[in-house]
Symmetry: C2
Subunit: 222 residues, 2 copies
DNA sequence: ATTTCAATTTTGAGTATTCAAAATACCAAA
DNA sequence: TTTGGTATTTTGAATACTCAAAATTGAAAT
C-alpha cells in the first residue's frame, strides 16, 4: 500500500498534468503544489520512479506511468466520492468539504468506498462539478468551456468550479454561483477585464477574468 | 495535533488500564498490544512522557495523565461513533467495522464527527455494545457482568462483546449472538468449563468459559 | 563564445518511528 | 547471598520524509 504522502504526490502530478495538457510536470511546479522545497520533490520523485509509479528524467520533469495514473485516478475517485458524501449525507457545505476529503481519502477502504458509491447512486460528478473517475476504466473527457471564453452565449449553466480555495468558493456561494446554477451574461468587458453575470434568483455579480476562467459552463439542457 | 501513532498508543494505554483496573500498564503488555518490540514501546513512552501525555517511571509502567486520558477518550469516541455510522448508514457488518474505524478515526475532524453524532441521534453505545464517551466529561461507568459470571440468571440480554477479533465476532453473529439479543441459559457446567445458551430464535450454542467471559450481559428490561 | 540566472539536483542533517540485539535491573528461588 | 531468569532499557541502525544551503546544469542573453 502506498503511504498517504505517495498518494498525494501522485494525485498532484495527475492534476498538474491535466492542467498542462499531458506534458511532463516541472519539479518546481510540483514542489510548489506539494508545498515542499524543490529538493524534497526531487528526492521523492526518484523513489516514485524506482517504484515504477512515474517516469522521470533528471531536469526533464515527471509524468505518471500507467501504474501511477491508475492509482492517481483511484485516489481522485475516493476524494470526490467522499466530498459528495459529506455534502449529501452529512450536510456539510460544498465550499468546505475539500480539506475534509483530503484527509479521509487516505483512510477509506475500497469496501467502504463501494458502499458510499452505492449509497449515492453511482454519481458522476462531485459537489464542485468535477468528474468522479469510475472504479475501472477511464472516464470520457468532458469538454467544458470557461465562463471567460463563453461571452457570446447569453444563457449558461455552471458546470464546474476549478478551484478548491475556501475563500473563492464561499464568495461564489454567497452570490448564488454554484454548479447547476443558471446564469445570464449581462456584460462582457475586455477593456476592464471583467464580466458581469446574473445568477438565477440572485443579484448580478461582476467577476475578473481570472475568476471567470475558473468557472466552467455548459449550455442549458432545456 | 498528535500523530496517529501517538493516538494509537494513548488509546491502547487507556484500554489496558481499564482492563487492569486503573493500574499502571507494564511496558511488555503495551508493546504486545501495539505489536512492536519492547524497546520501541519504551522509546515511544519516553517521548509521550515528555509531551505530558503519560506518567512514566522507568521499570514501573505507564499511565495516562489527565491530558492523555482526555485525548484517549476523544479518540475512542471517534472510533465508536464511526463504527456505528458504518453499520447504521453504510450497512457494513458489525463484525467487520472495527478495522475500518481504526483507520478512519485518525482522519475524521471534529466537525465531521459532530455531524455523524447528530445523524445518529447522539447514541451512547457502538455496535459491539461499547459505550461511546461523550464529547466532554466522563461517562458514567456501567457495571456489567460477564456471561461466565451470570449462571444463576436464566434469562439475560447481551449488552456488550469485548473482543474485536473478526473471527470471534463472526462466530457469535452466525449463532445469533449479538448485542441486544435475548438469551436463555440452558446449562452451566463447571466441570467441562462450558456454558450452553439459547439465543432468541436461534439454536443453542455451547461456549467455553473464556468465550463466555467476553460476553457481557444484563437483565432483560421487560 | 561567454556570461548569467533560474531551475534543479546534491549534500548533510533532523524528526518520527521502527527493529535487533546487547546491557541492565529486579524479583525470586536456592 | 548468589544465581537465575524475565522484564525492561539502551544502543546502533534503518526507513520515510523533510529542510537548508551549496553545487550543478542548461538555456537564454549578450
Amino acid at each position: 500500500m502506498p503511504t498517504s504522502t505517495v498518494e498525494n504526490y501522485l494525485k498532484t502530478i495527475y492534476m498538474q498534468q491535466q492542467r498542462a495538457g499531458g506534458k511532463n510536470v516541472a519539479m518546481g511546479k510540483l514542489a510548489k503544489a506539494m508545498d515542499v522545497v524543490p529538493g524534497t520533490a526531487t528526492a521523492m520523485i526518484k523513489t516514485l520512479a524506482d517504484s515504477g509509479l512515474v517516469d522521470y528524467k533528471p531536469r526533464g520533469g515527471v509524468s505518471l506511468s500507467d501504474k501511477g495514473e491508475t492509482l492517481a485516478l483511484h485516489i481522485l475517485r475516493r476524494h470526490r466520492l467522499l466530498e459528495l458524501f459529506l455534502v449529501e449525507v452529512l450536510g456539510l457545505d460544498w465550499t468546505e468539504v475539500h480539506d475534509e476529503a483530503e484527509e479521509l481519502e487516505h483512510a477509506t477502504s475500497d469496501k467502504v468506498l463501494a458502499r458510499i458509491d452505492d449509497y449515492l447512486g453511482h454519481p458522476d460528478t462531485d459537489p464542485h462539478g468535477d468528474p468522479i473517475p469510475p472504479a475501472k476504466g477511464a472516464h470520457a473527457p468532458v469538454q467544458l468551456k470557461s465562463l471567460a471564453d463563453s461571452a457570446t452565449q447569453k444563457k449558461l449553466v455552471i458546470a464546474r468550479v476549478v478551484d478548491q480555495g475556501c475563500e473563492f468558493l464561499q464568495f461564489l456561494n454567497q452570490h448564488g454561483l454554484r454548479p447547476g446554477t443558471r446564469i445570464n451574461i449581462l456584460s462582457y468587458d475586455r477593456v476592464v477585464d471583467a464580466i458581469t453575470v446574473k445568477p438565477y434568483k440572485h443579484e448580478p455579480v461582476t467577476l475578473g477574468m481570472a475568476a471567470a476562467g475558473k468557472i466552467l459552463v455548459e449550455k442549458p439542457a432545456t
